[in-house]
């Protein structure tokens, strides 16, 4: 039996931020992760981070939340180089551009006029620019992991199977990679296991506080420009496109959208249906010469989690205390809100451990040298791909695209 002050289940952004902050305050933190940092929801959610350009009038609480989160990220990302220095917001409807630009400006986001960039076909879209940079989540996760190790966080490979009250604290039963079972006692726990949290709560006999949703990512590779762009196709639907640059000069485009699906059961060819629709949209707005430079199409299914009760695609709650305050569920509904979820978890645990209540400023994440970054991120490594697709002709069939999502 091992002991710690705090058990943190899950080494995503929220778990790492919580563990790092508590360790820096002097707590002995045991961080339990079955795979690698960010291999779950944090990496799979988007693979990149934006600081809050994705909202509209239908999400009235988000501007304030994202504004607060932006201040946190401003400190955390001070040393991390962005992939793109700004973002483009492109609409097919010029009136929609004017409405969105006005709303975003009134919400406190810096926007500026922008002519249509050359990689977008000039006939069907209108644009404005946002000063929001984008970041590779992999860079953030690697930096946080290195800092957590330096701060003395004890990392344990495994899955927290069950959490329960034990004396004045909690007891966690952990399944290790070799199938062994370990028991860790601690005074408090942070449950930041993302898609694994509902199962953990169920096995522990705790309330079903977290819901899951299925989402899909489309990944395109080639000699492409580094871009960050949003195409709202309609009021509540659109595509995000962000980039990551590889050392070989090729770029990865990561495409996601607002849609989420039920997470249970076999989705059949839902992924292929979704991917084909995305490709059709891109073919409508991206310059043909740029599309022709895409030499690989792949994708993966991701899981989104959020606290119940649901409030649409974005929950405004991201922390819930359980076991009389011994444990806190930390599950931001958007990766951008992870610092707020971590701050909430730290506040709960600090109160339980009798630590000073003041919220210290975040220290900047130290970037890991580029040479130590993988060519492909953890969540991409098992993807299959369609090579040299003819995206200017008939898009790949739904069945063929669906196979890309079979792991």
């Amino acid at each position: 039996m091992r002991h710690g002050d705090v058990i943190v289940a899950g080494a995503g952004v929220a778990g790492l931020l919580s563990a790092l902050t508590l360790a820096r305050r002097g707590a002995h933190v045991v961080l339990v992760e079955p795979l690698r940092a960010g291999a779950g929801q944090s990496g799979q959610s988007h693979g990149y981070l934006h600081r809050g350009y994705a909202y509209g009038p239908d999400e009235p609480q988000l501007p304030a939340l994202l504004g607060t989160a932006r201040e946190h990220w401003h400190s955390l990302l001070a040393r991390i180089p962005p992939v793109t220095a700004d973002s483009t917001i492109a609409f097919c409807d010029p009136a929609a551009v004017r409405r969105a630009e006005r709303y975003w400006r009134e919400s406190g986001l810096a926007v500026r006029p922008r002519s249509t960039p050359g990689w977008l076909s000039g006939t069907s879209v209108a644009c404005f620019g946002s000063a929001e940079p984008t970041y590779n989540v992999g860079d953030i996760l690697r930096g946080l992991s290195a800092q957590a190790r330096a701060a003395g966080v004890e990392s344990r490979p495994g899955t927290v199977e069950r959490i329960e009250e034990s004396g004045d604290g909690v007891r966690a039963r952990i399944t290790e990679p070799d199938g062994g079972v370990a028991v860790v006692d601690a005074r408090a726990a942070v449950l930041a296991a993302g898609a694994g949290t509902p199962g953990l709560l169920a096995r522990s006999g705790l309330p079903a506080a977290v819901q899951l949703r299925r989402a899909f990512m489309l990944v395109l590779r080639g000699r492409l420009p580094a871009v960050s762009v949003l195409f709202p196709e309609r009021a509540e639907h659109g595509l995000f496109l962000a980039s990551r640059l590889g050392a070989d000069g090729r770029a990865t485009w990561l495409v996601s959208d607002f849609q989420s699906f039920d997470s249970g059961g076999d989705p059949g060819q839902l992924a292929g249906w979704w991917a084909r629709r995305v490709l059709l949209t891109l073919r409508r707005v991206v310059d043909a010469a740029v599309l022709a430079r895409i030499d690989a199409v792949s994708g993966y299914a991701a899981t989104k989690s959020g606290l119940l009760p649901a409030s649409g695609t974005v929950a405004h709650e991201f922390g819930m205390e359980l076991l009389g305050g011994r444990a806190v569920v930390s599950t931001p509904s958007k990766l951008t809100l992870a610092p707020l979820a971590a701050r909430r978890a730290v506040r709960t645990v600090a109160a339980r451990l009798g630590m000073r209540p003041a919220d210290a400023a975040w220290e900047p994440i130290t970037p890991v040298p580029a040479g130590r970054s993988p060519a492909r991120e953890t969540w991409e490594t098992s993807m299959s791909a369609l090579h040299h697709p003819d995206l200017l002709g008939e898009p790949p069939a739904i069945g063929a695209l669906s196979e890309l999502y079979q792991r």
Partner: protein, 86 residues
């Protein structure tokens, strides 16, 4: 626009499947028909004759699966109107 007994709306123009104001499944183009094929399943038939079953989750109300339709009776041909089984 088809509105069925469960409150699901389907645009024959875009193929979009909606519930209230929420987009459940973005369509791939015009549909010839949209038909209930079961309590939780909708049969979509495109103008080119492809047929797809969209299965909804009774728990979440979200789309759970999309499958090519096999051995499911097609909607009557010769009309662009949707056919609804209430």
């Amino acid at each position: 626009m088809l509105v069925d007994a469960a409150g699901v709306r389907i645009s024959l123009h875009t193929g979009d499947v909606l519930s209230g104001d929420r987009l459940l499944l973005a369509g791939l183009g015009p549909l010839r028909s949209a038909t209930r094929a079961g309590e939780d399943t909708i049969l979509l038939e495109t103008v080119s004759g492809e047929r797809w079953l969209v299965r909804m989750s009774p728990v979440s109300g979200l789309v759970a699966a999309v499958e090519p339709a096999v051995a499911v009776r097609s909607a009557p041909r010769g009309t662009d109107r949707c056919v609804t089984v209430m």
